[in-house]
């Protein structure tokens, strides 16, 4: 009989080299079902590289990835998406010159068959986009709006709405708050809460440690391509988490 829930994702001994640079030096990382994991570390710690591997953007030089207990390998982001791993990148993921509905379904467009030919089901794309955005409370965005005409907050909201529409099991949020106004941050916060309510696992990458601390159930700390800490929320204070990131080694206040 199982006593613990099987991890949704388990990455073992992940190494990644870019030319002469060893970006990851054998990192173990796991995400459990219904869990929000805060992935933190200073610049160059390897957070985005690790999540790049999990989202299929990079292939690891070494290491193993298991999804729901089964070993998997991703040759492209499409493979990760097939398993329900969606990524909300900080500064990319939407095509600025293309409209919302085409962006929503980019890479997974519904088609209508006319004999041997396949044509985009544009009506369905618009209808579903409208419905998906309304369902998560994103108002004021029409499916035919061009992405470049939208604000940063609206764009992030579309990316999260898209992840929800495709019924993601795991959403990787890479600095979703960067360059957003206060009101837009509130909207994104409510969308992340919506993800939590829907029991979607989340990996949250951010330099804003206070937000990560409020949001996450567990914190994984990377430094220079190595995992230096893995704490549940009650096991580390905000101050010690910040100090650990700053020092590059575990700092636990003895008074606690």
């Amino acid at each position: 009989m199982k006593t613990e829930k099987e991890p949704l994702v388990k990455m073992v001994n992940i190494k990644k080299k870019f030319g002469a640079v060893q970006a990851l030096k054998g990192v173990d990382f796991q995400v459990n079902p219904d869990e929000i994991v805060g992935l933190v570390g200073d610049n160059g710690a390897g957070k985005s590289t690790l999540m790049g591997i999990l989202s299929g953007m990079y292939t690891p030089t070494e290491g193993k990835i298991c999804f729901q207990g089964k070993k998997v390998s991703f040759s492209s982001p499409k493979d990760a998406r097939m398993l329900g791993i969606e990524t909300v990148h900080q500064d990319f993921g939407l095509l600025g010159l293309i409209n919302v509905s085409r962006n929503m379904f980019m890479g997974a467009e519904p088609v209508k068959k006319f004999g041997p030919l396949r044509f985009l089901d544009l009506a369905k794309m618009e209808r579903e986009t409208q419905g998906a955005l309304e369902k998560v409370g994103i108002k004021g965005i029409e499916p035919n709006y061009i992405i470049n005409h939208l604000s940063g907050g609206q764009r992030q909201a579309i990316k999260i709405g898209r992840a929800m529409y495709f019924k993601a099991n795991l959403v990787i949020l890479d600095e979703p708050y960067t360059a957003l106004s206060v009101r837009e941050r509130d909207k994104i916060w409510s969308l992340i809460m919506e993800l939590k309510k829907r029991r979607v696992s989340v990996v949250y990458i951010s330099h804003d440690i206070r937000i990560v601390y409020d949001l996450a159930d567990r914190f994984v700390i990377l430094d220079a391509g190595t995992k230096i800490g893995d704490f549940k929320k009650g096991e580390i204070s905000l101050e010690n988490l910040i100090a650990t990131i700053r020092e590059g080694k575990i700092v636990i206040d003895k008074e606690r």
Partner: protein, 338 residues
């Protein structure tokens, strides 16, 4: 709202949309120059014979331009299309007497596809910039054209001229309109539908717009661009073969400078050299515009070399119209209808 107002709103919306479209510059240019040349030549320019001549040369260029626009939208460029046009045309002429028309047609077309594949492979798999890859192939295959023709213009053999396929590709139909014009229209329509209403079309714009974002959604930029180069090679080859079927002769100059004219047609039609924005319909209209200008200037008695200068002026003017005027209209549309 009254019905009258409803119609007015529909038509004004339509006019505003058309003015803000990518093809606005080229379409406006066609109308403007049609009026100017008709006035300056006292209506002679509008004669059916001249219109047929214009459309015949527009068709040759236009078929290439649709392929060029496709490649440019993906964020690459193909400078070898003129040489592909030429080599496919002259090898078709050379092969017909040996292996017959149908096989010569297939092999020549495959030659175009193959060069497109080489362009794509060197650019996308080997990382050589498309400007260099296709410039190299421009020279390589222009040299091969000289080798195949031995510096002469070679006529299509008599037996080949009478074949059904040659008549279908290069013959003419009622009213003296060349079949090439029909091919041009069919190909433009098919390409426009292909780009607007298929998954691949969606990916073409995505890859040209932002490679990393496209990749993050599972779209493979190298695969999309490889296919664009192959289609471009196929279309250039088809245009070259059809042109020799029409003219019944192929020589060393076949397709020369068409690479730049095809780029000019695409840009005139609203395609941005930065990628992500463009229209094959616009490129086709751009080809018609260039062909009109060539004929109009000749009819007005201008020396042929003025064509090149004039194209430069029109190109800059149309690009300004496309960017500035379209931006203006689009911002007005947003304010009016959002």
């Amino acid at each position: 709202m009254s019905e009258g107002n409803g119609h007015a709103s529909f038509f004004s919306k339509l006019v505003w949309k058309l003015c803000g479209s990518l093809e606005f510059g080229a379409a406006g240019g066609v109308i403007l120059f049609a009026i100017l040349f008709s006035v300056f030549t006292k209506g002679l320019w509008l004669s059916p014979l001249n219109l047929r001549v214009i459309m015949r040369s527009a068709a040759q260029l236009g078929i290439i331009a649709t392929g060029q626009a496709l490649v440019i939208i993906t964020g690459r460029i193909d400078l070898s299309v003129g040489s592909i046009f030429g080599i496919c045309g002259v090898s078709f002429v050379a092969m017909t007497s040996v292996i017959g028309v149908p096989l010569a047609f297939i092999l020549s077309l495959l030659f175009g596809v193959g060069i497109g594949f080489i362009n794509g492979f060197l650019t996308e798999k080997m990382g050589v910039p498309s400007l260099i890859t296709t410039l190299g192939n421009l020279y390589i295959f222009r040299g091969l054209i000289y080798f195949v023709t031995q510096g002469f213009s070679n006529a299509l053999p008599k037996a080949a001229r009478d074949s059904t396929l040659v008549c279908l590709l290069g013959g003419s139909w009622a009213g003296g309109w060349n079949n090439l014009v029909i091919w041009f229209m069919l190909i433009t329509t098919a390409m426009a539908i292909f780009l607007s209403f298929t998954r691949y079309g969606n990916w073409v714009f995505a890859v040209g717009n932002d490679e990393r974002s496209a990749l993050s959604r599972g779209v493979s930029p190298p695969k999309v661009r490889m296919l664009a180069f192959i289609i471009c090679g196929l279309l250039a080859g088809f245009a070259g073969i059809s042109t020799v079927c029409d003219m019944q002769i192929g020589g060393t100059t076949l397709g020369k400078e068409m690479e730049l004219e095809s780029i000019a047609s695409s840009v005139l039609g609203g395609t941005a050299l930065t990628g992500g924005i463009g229209s094959v319909l616009g490129a086709a209209i751009g080809a018609v515009l260039l062909s009109m200008i060539r004929s109009g200037l000749i009819m007005m008695g201008a020396p042929p070399y003025w064509f090149v200068t004039f194209v430069g002026v029109v190109l800059i003017g149309a690009v300004l119209a496309n960017t500035k005027v379209r931006e203006r209209f689009q911002s007005l549309i947003e304010r009016k209808y959002k």
